[in-house]
């Protein structure tokens, strides 16, 4: 069984490495797919495993996006003048400055949201059920509205992230961001998979199933909830930082704290794939991304209508998601490639 897993991972890894060279036209799409998968996986940590359905992880995503860009600019140039000049090229990053700034920016973008999650976690995670859901929804929207009023990060007119340095053109830019997001994805997957095979995951599941009972059994639920949320925030912020560089332009409510798109997407992808499974969010994100690209391209303008209908249909008819449906339909022959390993992993855990 281990061997099967190993082969599968090798195949995926090799595919991931060569994908931008096989499909050079889809580099940006593939990078976005990686970011979406990271978001779905991180949402699943508390949404699926812990039972805390958050609409507010977009907070960490947007925070990471702004932080990464601000650090990247602020390390070398005055930030206020940069945002004031808008897209004008008053300051130009040298390649060394660009990569150095982006690296530091990503580190900050990952660490600070995790710290923020730890700080607000004690207050917010004490809320239960729908109060938590609405509270996090409020947090996300409030962050968007407030950041839209802060002058130094561009306020209403947006924030242009540093342009990619002038070598290799679009090809190099696409490859750079693709590998950034792919490496982050691999990192996220490794971390999440390894914590899912420890007692930590069992504690999270206990919290989901019955929090009071888990507390009565002597588990310090609050500690685990905060750690879970911090892990989630860490990778959310990382994904946000990469996405900011990839998009090249940050707007408070349309790109960074975009509760209507990303904030819903991450919930939807995890539910579509199957909450509370390791592979569910990955499958869900891939299926969703293909669907979304099709719709966004061929039915432009109707995409939100389709999104609304999709949410309703998925929530009402497929609350268990693809993985849950497969498990119910083929309990024995549970797929051959991807799903088999997941079931084996589940059995091993049990």
């Amino acid at each position: 069984m281990k061997k099967n897993n190993l082969i599968l991972y090798t195949v995926i890894l090799i595919f991931g490495v060569v994908a931008p060279f096989i499909f050079p036209a889809f580099k940006v799409q593939l990078s976005i797919l990686c970011v979406l998968i990271i978001l779905a996986i991180t949402w699943n940590i508390q949404g699926g495993e812990m039972g805390y359905n958050s609409f507010g992880n977009i907070l960490f995503y947007g925070l990471g996006m702004y932080l990464c860009a601000s650090v990247q600019v602020g390390m070398f140039f005055p930030l206020a003048e940069w945002t004031e000049s808008g897209g004008e090229k008053t300051f130009v990053h040298t390649p060394a400055q660009f990569f150095q700034g982006f690296g530091v920016g990503l580190a900050v973008a990952a660490v600070v949201p995790a710290i923020v999650a730890g700080l607000i976690g004690y207050s917010i995670l004490g809320l239960r059920g729908h109060y938590f859901a609405i509270c996090t929804l409020g947090l996300g929207v409030a962050a968007g509205e407030i950041s839209g009023g802060i002058e130094i990060i561009g306020a209403g007119q947006g924030f242009t992230t540093p342009p990619f340095p002038d070598f290799g053109g679009l090809e190099a830019r696409g490859e750079f961001f693709y590998f950034c997001s792919f490496i982050s994805l691999v990192l996220t997957f490794i971390v999440v998979k390894s914590i899912y095979s420890t007692r930590f995951k069992l504690v999270l599941n206990a919290i989901r199933d019955n929090e009071d009972k888990a507390e009565a059994m002597g588990i310090q639920t609050m500690k685990y909830k905060i750690i879970g949320w911090m892990i989630s925030a860490f990778f959310c912020g990382l994904a946000g930082g990469i996405m900011g560089g990839l998009v090249g332009y940050i707007d408070s409510t349309d790109v960074a704290f975009d509760g209507r798109e990303m904030g819903v997407f991450m919930v939807l992808m995890a539910i579509l794939g199957g909450k509370g499974t390791l592979w569910g969010p990955i499958i869900g994100a891939s299926v969703f991304h293909i669907f979304k690209e099709g719709f966004w391209t061929f039915f432009l303008g109707w995409q939100y209508v389709a999104l609304g209908v999709l949410i309703v249909v998925i929530v009402i008819y497929f609350p268990e998601g693809i993985m849950g449906w497969l498990r119910e339909k083929y309990p024995e022959r549970f797929g051959e490639v991807v799903d088999e390993t997941d079931r084996k992993a589940q059995v091993e855990l049990k």
């Binding site: 359905n53 609409f55 207050s123 917010i124 004490g126 809320l127 059920g129 729908h130 109060y131 859901a133 609405i134 509270c135 929804l137 409020g138 947090l139 929207v141 409030a142 968007g144 509205e145 407030i146 839209g148 009023g149 209403g156 209507r260 819903v264 919930v267 539910i271 303008g301 109707w302 939100y304 209508v305 999104l307 609304g308 209908v309 999709l310 949410i311 309703v312 929530v315 009402i316 609350p319």
Partner: protein, 297 residues
């Protein structure tokens, strides 16, 4: 930051009166929210979008030359059927499920409504002009548009009518019985499915009234729905389910808070401050409840 509001007391009076008149409208929306939450145990994120849809009905009457105040009568009738239709299509499948499912499903409806309204009515900020003029108080230091006074008056009338209806009528009794215990009500011969549909319809009709009034007094825009949902949610959790005077008072309190936030922080932070207040209230509530739990221990 602007502290003019403290230097000139008349501005505070203006803000208070504006806030109270606005808060009465919020309380009307929150009443609908409390009704469906109490009876059907669902939280409707699309509440605000129903309000905006009701507003567009009044706006269209205005465009076709009918006085928009008639929207107060027409809009709830149309919205009642919209609400019942929505119930038959979607809501009846989420009623007895997990609350998160209802939140997510209504979030989907909210996105759908937003975009459909955007297609149908355009993305402009619109206003139905009632032509009611203004009232000057305190030697012209405080200016109140008559449309705001009209809207507060109409909201109070509708709220009182609804309270009496819920107390006296057969359907009202059935709704209250279902809210208390749906199973027992079913055993005693109440058609709970019908009650649920009627409840959602009444909620939508209330939203229609509020929307029509908002289109007269303020402005409407397809994407402005979510703040109304959040406000009504906030009012309901501050007041508690089934506490009608509480809903009215906390609605007015929220209105006054918003007007002051508008003066002090600036208009661009108005919506942000509403959402932050929601977070603060929930956190406060969580610490209060956890203290209670410690006593129990």
């Amino acid at each position: 930051m602007d502290f003019m509001v403290f230097q000139y007391p008349m501005i505070s009076v203006q803000a208070c009166l504006d806030g109270i008149l606005l808060g009465i409208l919020f309380a009307l929306i929150a009443y609908g929210m409390a009704l469906q939450w109490g009876v059907m145990n669902i939280i409707n994120i699309a509440q605000g979008d129903l309000v905006i849809l009701g507003g567009y009905i009044a706006y269209f009457m205005y465009l076709y030359g009918i006085h928009p105040a008639w929207g107060v009568i027409v809009s709830p009738i149309i919205m009642y059927f919209v609400g019942v239709g929505l119930y038959k299509l979607v809501i009846n499948k989420v009623v007895d499920r997990d609350l998160f499912i209802s939140i997510l499903a209504t979030f989907g409806i909210s996105i759908l409504f937003m975009q459909l309204m955007n297609f149908a009515f355009g993305a402009d900020v619109v206003l139905a002009n009632s032509g009611y003029g203004t009232t000057f108080l305190f030697d012209g230091n405080v200016v109140l548009p008559n449309s705001k006074i009209f809207s507060a008056f109409v909201s109070i009338v509708f709220a009182i009518c609804l309270v009496i209806y819920m107390k006296k009528s057969k359907l009202g009794r059935a709704i209250r019985a279902t809210a208390q215990n749906a199973r027992a009500a079913k055993i005693l011969g109440v058609d709970t499915e019908k009650v649920y549909a009627a409840t959602f319809g009444i909620n939508a009709a209330l939203c229609g009234v509020a929307g029509a009034l908002i289109s007269i007094t303020f402005t409407i825009h397809p994407y402005m729905g979510l703040p109304y949902t959040i406000r009504s949610f906030m009012i309901v959790i501050v007041a508690g389910l089934g506490n009608l005077p509480g809903v009215a008072i906390s609605g007015m309190g929220l209105g006054v808070f918003e007007e002051f936030a508008d003066y002090i922080l600036g208009t661009e932070f108005r919506i942000g401050s509403v959402f932050l207040l929601l977070v603060l209230i929930l956190v406060y509530r969580r610490f209060k409840l956890s203290k209670k739990r410690e006593y129990l221990k």
